[in-house]
Amino acid sequence: MSAPVEAYITVSAILFFIGVVGVIVRRNPLIQLMSIELLFNSANLALVTFARSWANNDGHIFAFLVITVAAAEAAIGLAIVVIVFRKTTFVDVDEVATLKG
């Protein structure tokens, strides 16, 4: 461990909030999905850091499951983007207001 735990967690928090800002500010759904991947990865970094800190494997297992769920989420999110683009030809989540949420 080349740096203290606090440094890793701080980097993880910074990455997480960069991702949050990306989800909030950007309106391109592809970039929003990539920001969500950033969120997953920052959480993984925290998990792996604490796993190393406690010398316990469970953090690794949990990070592995997070990677799997991220793969499923990316596939479904991109499928939704594709079918929305087939109908509107304009990729902007503010334009997609059919459900009036």
């Binding site: 949050v20 190393r52 592995f64 479904i76 939704i80 983007v81 902007d92």
Partner: protein, 192 residues
């Protein structure tokens, strides 16, 4: 420590580039750099199997999926339009919530004293914490049920993607196959 500082700067810089890039393709490149730096960071944390999985699954599968979708969507007549800039409208609440959340995390971390456990052996040696054998033993003995649930999650995702994007519209489905007319007249039932 200097290596960690470099990795952290690369990760934060590439994340900022991902979020602020004009085109999604640039975001993919920034995200790729972020994932590679994160994989190296995993190596410094004795998580060598996860480092490999990070490269294989994220950079190899998920990012390629993003690239394919971008190529598919950009091949139409209309290219991506940046749209109006929403930054001024959401900047103040984003900064407020970001600082509150970040401050909470930093306060929670700063109030705790971490004493990292010492691990005998270096990264890459066999049967050390975080090696493939160690990870596999933990995954297939104590955590077998989560692993199998993972398979179920992936199967549901695949079925969902096929249902969502497989057929364009119900009317665009192929017409039902014409049934072949029987060449010979149907055989009469055998009288008994």
């Amino acid at each position: 420590m200097i290596g960690f500082v470099i990795l952290a700067l690369v990760m934060i810089g590439s994340a900022l580039f991902t979020v602020t890039a004009k085109k999604p393709v640039y975001s993919v490149v920034g995200l790729l750099l972020n994932f590679i730096a994160l994989a190296i960071t995993y190596l410094t944390l004795h998580a060598e199997f996860l480092a490999v999985m990070q490269i294989v699954v994220y950079s190899g599968a998920i990012l390629i999926l993003f690239v394919f979708v971008i190529a598919l969507l950009s091949s139409g007549t209309k290219p991506f339009e940046p749209g109006p800039n929403r930054m001024p409208r959401v900047l103040v609440p984003a900064v407020i919530f970001g600082l509150i959340g970040f401050g909470a995390i930093v306060a929670a971390v700063a109030g705790t004293v971490f004493t990292p456990a010492t691990i005998a052996g270096a990264t890459g040696e066999a049967n050390v914490f975080g090696s493939v054998a160690d990870f596999g033993t933990a995954l297939f003995t104590r955590n077998l049920l989560p692993f199998e649930v993972t398979a179920f999650v992936l199967m549901v995702a695949i079925i969902g993607v096929v249902l969502l994007a497989g057929d364009e519209t119900p009317s665009a489905r192929r017409p039902p196959k014409r049934t072949r007319e029987p060449i010979s007249p149907p055989r009469e039932p055998i009288a008994r």
